[in-house]
């Protein structure tokens, strides 16, 4: 058994024969004896042919994978028409190169320019200009494009793989891909993700692995050849869960979350940053119910700037394409601390300077975040959620700051959205004034972890208190019911976004209380949706709490 690790491009599990992919080398046909003019004419003819190939490929990809994937090959076509690229080829041809080698040399020259760029995304564009140059050179020297697959499905191992090569392979014979070089930002990687093809890069495989049995663990970022029975069984189990999830998505995609007796509830997902959005989209959640913005702060060495925050919020808002993204403002303090905040040590951090209290004390930090959220609102449906609220005064102060930011941005001529405003209900105080809060804001969001901690006076950080920790305590459930009723009275949406939202034994109770939305980890969205669609609330009494 031999194994190698790699960077994950796309999760998933594949088991099958490993095949090492070899690209046909472009032959050195330097002395073909044609004049530069003749070589240039050959190049132009090959370009026309490559253009036609790319048009066809574009059409096929558009049909199979959608517009965004097709755009990759449209860019390839445009690269072939780029004046600077054509100039580089022309110069090389004039200096005596054959058309094929001139195309490769021009491709390398621009690839080097991309590879030298600062930005990882732009560096990965080197692969595109190489790909298109190889396509032209291949036409000129009569090479079969890329490789083809026949016979049994395989896991493909390649030095690197261009987007064209990947699209040329028969998907039904391809179980997964590993490459030695390449980037998770390459267009081939983006295509692999769109195809849901298990894939790794940066894998140091050996040519001797060709033809051997292998398992590719796209979730764990490992490949193993000649796996033993134990590993095979474990991977088979992983694969089963993965495929089941895919089936579940197929079954539920686009379907409403309605119980058998016709009660509906929204199911959204909780995220910690733009990196989680793919998972949300894959789960077909109705929105992001909780974006824990503090992770942008906890992962940073210093305060994230307005631009950094704006970029992160915008990315999520855009990716969610009109579905609501609820951004919880900075919930730092207590157990979540970052050194650069220079917070003083406290006796009782859970009851201390945290969340909204910190934001209303250090207003510049808060305003930077509010400005970034307002600006992101121009690119999608975002909402602001205030954590740890205990009074109406806090809500009004925060709203004033939000208005201040809006006025500033208007003055600056910046594009903005009009985000909804909501508050976290996670203290008994907020529950007791839920009516007043519901009259003031657009939505209430129950944070059941803190609500349990503050209601039961049980420190959730203390492992010794585990047996006293009971989020299903009647006191907590009554708090939730009280809040849901207040929301209903005022036409104010009520969401549960804590761990309890995913507790299936309580789903029926939440539906009865009239909770409008449950927000859970992305992986819990699909199973919960299926659970809801199987519930029938007829003929059962109100739960006893």
């Amino acid at each position: 058994m031999e194994t190698a690790g790699g960077k994950i491009i796309q999760g998933g599990v594949a088991t099958g024969t490993l095949r090492v992919f070899r690209r046909a080398e472009v032959p050195d046909s330097r002395d073909a004896g044609l004049t530069p003019d003749q070589e240039w004419a050959r190049f132009e003819a090959a370009c026309a042919q490559a253009g036609a190939q790319l048009d066809e490929l574009c059409g096929r990809v558009r049909e199979e994978l959608g517009e965004e994937s097709a755009a990759i090959f449209e860019i390839h076509r445009m690269m072939l028409e780029d004046e600077d690229y054509l100039d580089a080829v022309r110069d090389a041809v004039r200096s005596g190169e054959t058309a094929g080698r001139a195309a490769l040399a021009a491709g390398e020259r621009f690839a080097a320019a991309f590879a030298a760029m600062e930005d990882a995304y732009m560096r990965a564009r080197a692969g595109d200009v190489r790909d298109v140059s190889r396509r032209v050179a291949g036409i000129l020297d009569g090479l079969e494009g890329g490789g083809t697959l026949s016979g049994e499905p395989v896991i493909l191992a390649a030095e690197d793989l261009t987007p064209s090569e990947l699209m040329q392979l028969d998907r039904s014979r391809l179980l997964g891909v590993i490459t030695r070089r390449g980037s998770v930002n390459s267009h081939a990687a983006i295509l692999a993700r769109t195809m849901n093809l298990p894939a790794l890069t940066g894998v140091d495989f050996r040519d001797g692995w060709d033809g051997r049995m292998a398992v590719l663990d796209g979730f764990g970022g490992r490949i193993c050849v000649d796996p033993d029975a134990g590993l095979l069984a474990a991977m088979e189990e992983k694969r089963r869960v993965w495929l089941e999830e895919a089936d579940l998505l197929q079954e539920l995609k686009g379907k409403p979350n309605i119980t058998l007796d016709g009660r509906g509830i929204e199911v959204c997902a909780n995220i910690s940053g733009p990196g989680d959005v793919d998972l949300v989209l894959r789960s077909d959640a109705q929105g992001v119910g909780l974006f824990r913005s503090e992770f942008l702060f906890l992962e940073a060495e210093d305060f994230p700037t307005e631009e950094e925050q704006f970029a992160a919020y915008r990315r999520v808002a855009e990716a969610m394409a009109g579905k609501r993204t609820v951004i919880r403002t900075l919930d730092i303090g207590a157990d979540k601390r970052a050194d650069y905040f220079r917070l003083e040590k406290e006796e009782n951090p859970a009851l201390g300077l945290r969340a909204i209290r910190l934001c209303l004390t250090r207003r510049e930090i808060f305003k930077t975040q509010l400005r970034a959220i307002l600006r992101a609102g121009a690119f999608g449906n975002v909402a602001v959620l205030l954590p740890m609220i205990i009074s109406l005064r806090e809500v009004r102060e925060a709203r004033e700051l939000l208005e201040e930011c809006r006025a500033e941005l208007r003055e600056e001529g910046a594009a903005m959205g009009t985000p909804e405003l909501g508050v976290m209900v996670e203290t008994p105080a907020a529950v007791m004034i839920a009516d007043e809060l519901a009259g003031e804001v657009d939505f209430l969001s129950l944070g059941t972890n803190d609500l349990t901690q503050y209601t039961l006076a049980v420190d959730r950080q203390n492992p010794g208190l585990e047996r006293f920790w009971d989020p299903r305590h009647p006191a907590v459930l009554r708090m939730i019911r009280h809040t849901a009723e207040a929301g209903r009275r005022h036409g104010c949406r009520v969401c549960i976004c804590g761990d309890l939202a995913a507790d299936r034994e309580l789903t029926a109770a939440f539906l009865r209380m009239g909770v409008d939305e449950l927000s859970v980890p992305p992986s819990a969205v699909l199973p919960l949706r299926r659970w809801i669609r199987g519930l029938d609330l007829r003929g059962e009494g109100e739960a006893a709490f």
């Binding site: 755009a71 860019i75 445009m78 970029a311 915008r314 600006r375």
Partner: protein
């Protein structure tokens, strides 16, 4: 000659797909359009690779210059393009 400045808000900056759209839009105009950013980097808006290699990032401000042809209409079209896409 007409000129305007624009601050890029796309999170990845002037990336491949957007550069491609810009090239298409600029090719449809009868004016010469140049995009310049700080540090003396500049490229004609019809040149895809040059635009990409400029590496314009999110938050960077570019100066767009329109020369020749119907400058008024071309500048207006470019301003609209930047606002809607970048």
């Amino acid at each position: 000659m007409k000129q305007f400045t624009y601050t890029i808000t796309d999170p990845i900056g002037l990336h491949a797909r957007l550069a491609g759209l810009l090239v298409k839009a600029a090719k449809g105009l009868d004016s010469t359009v140049t995009v310049a950013c700080t540090g003396g980097r500049s490229a004609e808006a019809t040149r895809l690779m040059a635009l990409m290699i400029m590496g314009v990032k999110s938050g960077e401000t570019v100066t767009v210059t329109v020369e020749g042809g119907d400058e008024e209409a071309s500048a207006a079209a470019m301003e609209r393009f930047f606002r809607e896409n970048l």
